[in-house]
């Protein structure tokens, strides 16, 4: 029995390690590419750089205007994240707990739009809309669209997690005189932090890596561009050939803030309040 346990444990670790190699190796390869010359990157065939080039990083930092662009990106990311979490949690809660006129229509509409919300198709009408709202030169257009296009999935998810919270808790609070919003804030929110952590993390990541929207809504103002736009344009320099090594350096720097956010969010969806602690 005991030796069987150990075997299982060892096999589990072996399995996890093998998968970890599969997932991490390409990322590592990209980061190592940031230390190579452009010729070596595009020639391929090596894993470690033949000679380590460290100048790619400072060059990428200045060429992509990192300091400024990171600020812009953080700005959109923070508000996209807050917006996504707020909208998804409020709507997910209401949709899960309440019946109201037009609920089926609303859910159907949300589901239907999830089939079509692809950047390529909706860019043109969204641009026209933002133009009419006078937001087409503002980072807020990016924030609003990012929240809008991802809210469908989030609302569905959150509502499922809210359903998992025992209804008795709401009822007890209701008897104590709490209104709907108070129940949402005091009872539900603390209990669904795991999924809100995920929603927030994914919203932040979506915003951090999005390229298409920022490239459109910042086209008239170079100083407003976001990091991804800057990193992508790193490819183009003095020559007809793309500077892949610089782009890899830029992308490698851009991973770091995302990792920090992941660690923070990880606490949310992992430390997870166990339902038991609440029921007690």
């Amino acid at each position: 029995m005991n030796s069987k346990r150990i075997t299982i444990r060892l096999m589990t670790y072996f399995f996890l390690l093998a998968l970890a190699v599969f997932t991490v190796f390409p990322v590592l390869y990209a980061v190592l590419g940031a230390f190579k010359t452009n010729a070596e990157v595009t020639l391929g065939g090596t894993i470690l750089p033949q000679t380590w080039i460290f100048t790619n990083f400072p060059e990428a930092w200045t060429n992509a205007n990192f300091a400024r662009y990171t600020l812009n990106t953080l700005y959109t990311c923070v508000f996209t994240t807050i917006g996504s979490v707020l909208v998804a949690s409020m709507s997910g809660f209401v949709v899960s707990r309440k019946t109201f006129w037009g609920k089926k229509v609303l859910m159907g509409a949300i589901l239907a739009t999830m089939f079509l919300s692809v950047g390529a198709i909706t860019l043109r009408p969204l641009y026209v809309l933002m133009l009419r709202l006078g937001l087409h030169r503002s980072l807020w257009s990016i924030i609003l669209i990012q929240v809008a296009t991802s809210q469908g999935a989030n609302i569905f998810l959150v509502s499922r997690f809210v359903s998992a919270v025992p209804k008795e808790l709401d009822e007890a609070a209701h008897i104590d005189g709490a209104n709907l919003f108070q129940i949402y804030r005091m009872i539900i929110l603390p209990l669904i932090t795991p999924i809100l952590g995920v929603v927030g993390l994914f919203a932040f990541r979506y915003s951090w890596n999005d390229y298409v929207l920022p490239s459109i809504f910042t086209m008239t103002r170079e100083s407003m561009r976001t990091l991804t736009v800057g990193v992508v344009s790193l490819r183009y320099g003095e020559s007809a050939a793309a500077q892949w090594n610089l782009m890899l350096a830029g992308a490698s720097i851009a991973i770091i803030p995302m990792l920090i956010v992941y660690v923070i969010a990880n606490k949310q969806f992992m430390s997870g309040l166990t339902a038991g602690a609440v029921k007690g």
Binding site: N38, F79, M219, M224
Partner: protein, 445 residues
């Protein structure tokens, strides 16, 4: 604590609104701001330097706001036009007719001086590229021409007399180089076939033009892909006889160059950017040279294409056309065009500059010097003017034939049918003016 956070948030929002709101800067003191968008990045440092110089010295109180756009330049430009928010000047990745049809370009005939006329000579008016309905919309600067770039060392290794002149030689030499280069893992021929259009436009199209086998027949206004059957067969032949670089279907242009610089590729066909790439990005010890592209029989029956005639355009929405022109004039001056050429940003086609300027200091540019006897401007065929063809383009079909997923006869019949139907429809709907040149001469197109 929460209130503090909330307060901080509100402060951040309001601060952010101010800087995110991106109003166009108000320009006082009678300064005119000329917004200029470009899709070109390779000359970014040079252009920025010149813009700064202009802004510091011009006597007209003009300030240029030079914006280097992202990859999706054309899409963004069209969105900006929709918004009535277009730049005063924009670089033109497409021909003038495209922009004129869409009401985006402002004619510049009224501004053309005798001096300009003289300096530009026969490149002042290049039909479709910068001339539409008798109006000029853009001025030429640099042009692109095409050559077969080859590795002399590998040719020597394979005991070949010299670069191929006929299509047959190209196929045969590719195989012989692969054969001779087996030990060092070198191959005869390569294409950046991950994007068939990009790969075949620079190679196959040019061979077709040099062989008087361009699939669009200007005299009849019809497509006939039978004319490039030998090219279908040759390209497939190189795949089958082992002459092709392995994994060519997913090969992109930069890895291709990199492999060429490392001495692993015998030959490929590309434009005059290549010397600059080897001088700057992919330093090479390879003993390379370039020659005009081969043709079916080794006899040039048509000229290859020099793509030139346009550079910048003035927006039809510009409120300051006069000032935009002042910027134009300054940037099209003899000095700037010469410097642009000599510093290697692009090969000038402007006759006066060709006379005055020295070759840029880049090894190998001499192979790409424009030779009017074998190359020149070409009239554009419907598919180069945005013909909407249903289904895959002929570039895609050739690539498919190369990997053996379509049969040759059906592919050609199908292409003829689809392209000619598309031409008929486009003419019928008014999207395309018929392109027929009864006395078309491929040596003097």
């Amino acid at each position: 604590m929460k209130k503090v956070l909330l307060f901080a948030l509100i402060a951040l929002v309001s601060a952010g609104l101010a800087f995110a709101g991106g109003q166009r800067q108000a320009t006082g003191d009678g300064v005119t701001e000329i917004v200029w968008w470009t899709h070109q990045r390779h000359d970014m440092d040079f252009m920025r330097e010149k813009v700064a110089e202009f802004n510091a010295t011009n006597p007209h109180n003009i300030r240029i706001d030079y914006v280097v756009q992202t990859e999706e330049f054309q899409r963004n430009l069209e969105l900006a036009f929709q918004a009535g928010d277009s730049p005063d000047i924009f670089s033109a990745p497409f021909n003038a007719k495209y922009y004129v049809d869409r009401g985006m370009a402002h004619p510049i005939d009224d501004f053309i001086t005798d001096d300009l006329r003289q300096r530009y000579g026969n490149f002042l008016e290049v039909d479709v590229e910068n001339l539409v309905n008798g109006n000029i919309y853009s001025l030429a600067n640099s042009g692109v021409n095409f050559r077969l770039v080859y590795n002399q060392d590998l040719f020597d290794l394979a005991g070949l007399p010299g670069p191929p002149e006929t299509l047959e030689q190209m196929v045969e030499y590719a195989a012989r180089i692969s054969e001779a280069g087996r030990d060092q893992n070198a191959y005869g021929f390569a294409l950046n076939l991950t994007n068939p259009q990009s790969a075949l436009f620079r190679s196959l199209d040019q061979i077709a033009k040099a062989s008087d086998a361009w699939p669009y027949d200007y005299t009849s206004g019809q497509y006939d892909f039978e004319r490039i059957r030998p090219l279908f067969e040759a390209y497939r032949g190189i795949m089958d006889n082992g002459g092709m670089f392995p994994g060519v279907v997913s090969l992109d242009i930069d890895p291709l160059r990199s492999q060429f610089a490392a001495g692993n590729i015998g030959m490929y066909i590309s434009g005059n950017w290549e010397p600059g790439v080897y001088a700057q990005q992919f330093p090479t010890d390879v003993n390379w040279a370039a020659v005009p592209v081969p043709s079916y029989e080794g006899v040039q029956r048509g000229t290859t294409w020099v793509r030139a005639g346009r550079w910048q355009m003035i927006s039809s929405q510009s409120a300051n056309v006069e000032d935009a022109w002042r910027v134009f004039e300054w940037f099209h001056s003899a000095d700037i065009l010469r410097e642009y050429h000599e510093r290697g940003y692009g090969f000038t086609v402007v006759p006066a500059t060709v006379q005055e300027a020295d070759d840029p200091d880049i090894p190998g540019v001499e192979y790409f010097r424009i030779d009017a006897a074998i190359e020149g401007p070409w009239p554009l065929a419907p598919h180069e003017l945005g013909l909407v063809v249903e289904g895959p383009s002929y570039y895609d079909v050739i690539a498919s034939y190369m990997v053996g997923t379509v049969a040759l006869d059906t592919a050609i019949t199908d292409l003829n049918r689809r392209y000619n139907t598309a031409v008929e429809r486009a003419i019928a709907s008014g999207d395309l003016d018929p392109i027929v040149i009864p006395d078309f001469d491929p040596m003097n197109p």
